[in-house]
């Protein structure tokens, strides 16, 4: 009913175009071995080149959903399909995706460029080419001068930039981000928000962005999927109609405020649901 309606809306881009989904989740559930029902009956379609935020209180299963989409762990029920991705002979989808964790998750023993080269090295890309592409990725995130710096020599924001460069170096179709800026200070977060939007705008990837910040999700995304806890489920799916590029003036516009109000109400409903369900 409402869930179905929301997933229909999901296939429609804010500009009115119907997008063939990159990833299609149907009836996804996750039951942890300790008995926690982290997700129940989640339907979610993400269109090509969409920027979708998963917004919700802690414990609503948004990170779990993101990990399931990434293929880290098995769903207890339901399906996650990649209609356009390549599949191997046994029918397992091989989507080109990258993941950015809440922590930068860098290898402390390797310089920035060698961290960024990692995905290419694992895929067997020749070292020369890997180095060139990693250097290019570092340049894109504004760290060209820090190729040989070790993670401990970089600030928190810079480490996160290296992490994003590593995610982008494989030229992914889908970028999955799990509260990537939550641990950063506000100034750095704003700057990284802007840079992320520029990167997304300039390239062709889809972003699924997990956050617990209403303001961040309204600033970044075209669409906000709000989730509630116990059990984790989708309770609202709203479009954020505002043109890109978005910058400081958008952050201070009445439109932004109106979207924030709507998103906050959805989030409040999510919290209410959780308390009822408890």
């Amino acid at each position: 009913m409402t869930v179905l309606a929301s997933s229909d809306a999901a296939a429609v881009r804010p500009d009115g175009q119907v997008a063939r989904p990159v990833v299609r989740c149907r009836g996804v559930a996750k039951l942890f071995s300790n008995g926690t029902l982290a997700l129940q009956n989640v339907d979610l379609d993400v269109g090509r080149h969409q920027f979708v935020s998963l917004l919700g209180p802690s414990g609503c299963g948004k990170s779990t959903l993101l990990r399931l989409i990434a293929g880290l762990g098995e769903a207890s029920a339901g399906t996650i399909d990649w209609p356009d991705a390549q599949h191997d002979v046994s029918g397992v989808a091989l989507p080109r995706l990258s993941f950015v964790f809440q922590e930068p998750t860098l290898m402390p023993w390797a310089s920035a460029i060698r961290n960024v080269m990692l995905p290419l090295k694992l895929a067997g890309t020749p070292a020369e080419e890997a180095r060139a592409r990693a250097a290019e990725a570092l340049r894109m995130v504004g760290l060209a001068a820090f190729e040989n710096a070790y993670p401990r020599e970089l600030s928190g924001g810079m480490k996160m930039r290296v992490s994003i460069a590593r995610a982008l170096v494989t030229r992914p179709e889908v970028l999955l981000m799990d509260e990537p800026f939550a641990a950063l200070d506000e100034i750095t977060r704003f700057k990284l928000n802007n840079d992320l939007l520029e990167l997304w705008h300039a390239s062709n990837f889809t972003v699924v962005f997990v956050t617990h910040s209403v303001f961040e999700s309204v600033f970044l995304s075209q669409r906000i999927v709000t989730m509630a806890a116990r059990p984790g489920r989708v309770i609202a799916d709203m479009d954020v109609s505002a043109p890109y590029p978005r910058a400081v003036d958008y952050r201070t516009s009445p439109l932004y405020n109106a979207h924030c109000k709507r998103a906050s109400e959805a989030l409040e409903r999510a919290m209410g649901h959780a308390i009822e369900a408890h």
């Binding site: 290898m107 023993w109 694992l122 020599e153 970089l154 600030s155 700057k191």
Partner: protein
Amino acid sequence: MPDTAPSPVITIGDDAPPVVVQERRILGVAASTWPKVLMPLLVGLLSLAVWEYLVRRNGIPPYILPGPLLIAQTMVTDWGTLSGSLWITLSISLAALSVAVLLGVTLSVLFAQSKWVELSFFPYAVILQVTPIVAIAPLIIIWVNDVKLSLLICAWIVAFFPILSNTTLGLNSADHNLLNLFQLYKATRFQTLLHLRLPSALPYFLGGLKISGGLSLIGAVVAEFVAGTGGNQSGLAYRILESGYQLRIPRMFAALFMISISGIVIFLCLSMLSHLVLRRWHESALKREN
């Protein structure tokens, strides 16, 4: 000759990196390191002086307690015999340490491959560790005909465990998110081992190596005490036994000193190795201002 290196200060935008300032160096060693070397040295020299003074003032005979000057003199006059024994003890210790590293790392890699292998074999490694070496040494000496080889086995048993247990712990403590990342990029088991687990284990391995370095020397010495074999091929432990029988106490002290100094040198070398390997990235090798 003091010289000051330039202090590179780099900044970009809001993400300014920590400012890097090079410390003043004297004779190639950081200025703040000198007290760490000089203070213990001073304490050592002072204690030796007090020792020499007490021996002389109380007229203690050398067969009870020789003064440090007499010990030093003995070390010089008996250098021929002692240096041969030192070399034998050291070569046994280092060979035992090498075998311990080789087998310890190989076994811990095997353990890391499967929880079952670890569960099945780790208790036996513990048994090997907790059984006192003096208790097994006579058996090993009976079973193995070659004295040197039996000493090596004893030293190896003592040195082996810290490397095995530390490296196993290290291989299992790779960052969980990094493991997920490797899984996401479809890394093979071998790639994960080579690029993630082994580097993660390095600080733990080096910690184990520091302990094992000293233990291999102790193992070699203790086993030789038990074996009690003489001849030209004997190490420092036998020199101590022999000097005891012959009441050549200054020589006993000289051999004892050589063992201690060897232990210290082994420890310093391994600490240096650990520092050189980890200085760019590991917390243990970092100098903090606060």
